[in-house]
Symmetry: C2
Subunit: 150 residues, 2 copies
């Protein structure tokens, strides 16, 4: 995966990121790739917030993977800083080729370099393949994840 | 629960918050209530970050409950803003009396007033009573939660 460049996303990456999010059996129902201004406004909110880091992985100028990192200071666990990774997506043309692992290893290194103590994520109960993927990377499936639509 | 006042935590609340976190079978192993400067430094990082909102619930000047809210802008789900709630704790002297529900209803209202679309949390796999509590409040146990120690 030495041909993949991981970097902070820019506004120009938004269409490719949205396409990756929609190219997914859950995302297909949740996203509206044709409504780009909606995502561009959301990108502006992400970019203005120093606690957010939207990552893309590209090869030869084509975005093939993305993840959204959030850095959270807190009191618990002796004042530990947590990182949360959400919206991890790899192009369907690249799955099984190690790009997801390369992305997550990059994410882990980035969180370490920022002094985070813990990296956490939630994955839909139906994504059993993703669960195995995270376990293989060394994540402990120690928690239940709850969501409440506001 | 009309006698409970929920508000943003101040530096003066830190000892009480740490005591609540340590008064828990998992927190007892993870926290060091005697090392207060550690938590005071962490509180300063939380306070400086506009995406963080550390809540306390008090009665007659005594802190009896706490929760840590984080507000996260993002691209997924059509540019949804998420809230995460972590470190939800209620004094052991108050458990079963509705204080936890009052706290969570306050949290839900606060997240709505800030325009959040989704509230999410993770709870240790062993906290089965907490899982029932969140389900009763209307949370869907839809995800698996993974943690990686950095």
């Amino acid at each position: 995966m030495s041909d993949i460049d991981f970097r902070r996303a820019t506004l120009a990456d938004v269409p490719a990121i949205v396409a990756l999010m929609a190219d997914d059996y859950l995302g297909a129902r949740r996203e509206s790739p044709d409504d780009l201004p909606l995502y561009q406004e959301a990108f502006a909110r992400v970019e203005q917030d120093p606690g957010q880091f939207l990552v893309v992985g590209e090869r030869d100028g084509t975005v093939l993977a993305t993840a959204h990192l959030t850095f959270i200071p807190g009191l618990s666990r002796r004042g530990a800083t947590r990182a949360i990774v959400e919206a991890v997506r790899v192009s369907s043309t690249e799955r099984g080729a190690g790009l997801g692992s390369a992305l997550m290893h990059w994410v882990i290194a980035e969180c370490r370099s920022r002094g985070c103590d813990l990296l956490q994520l939630t994955s839909d109960n139906t994504r059993l393949e993703a669960h195995r993927f995270y376990q293989k990377l060394g994540f402990a499936q120690s928690h239940a994840g709850f969501k409440y639509e506001l």
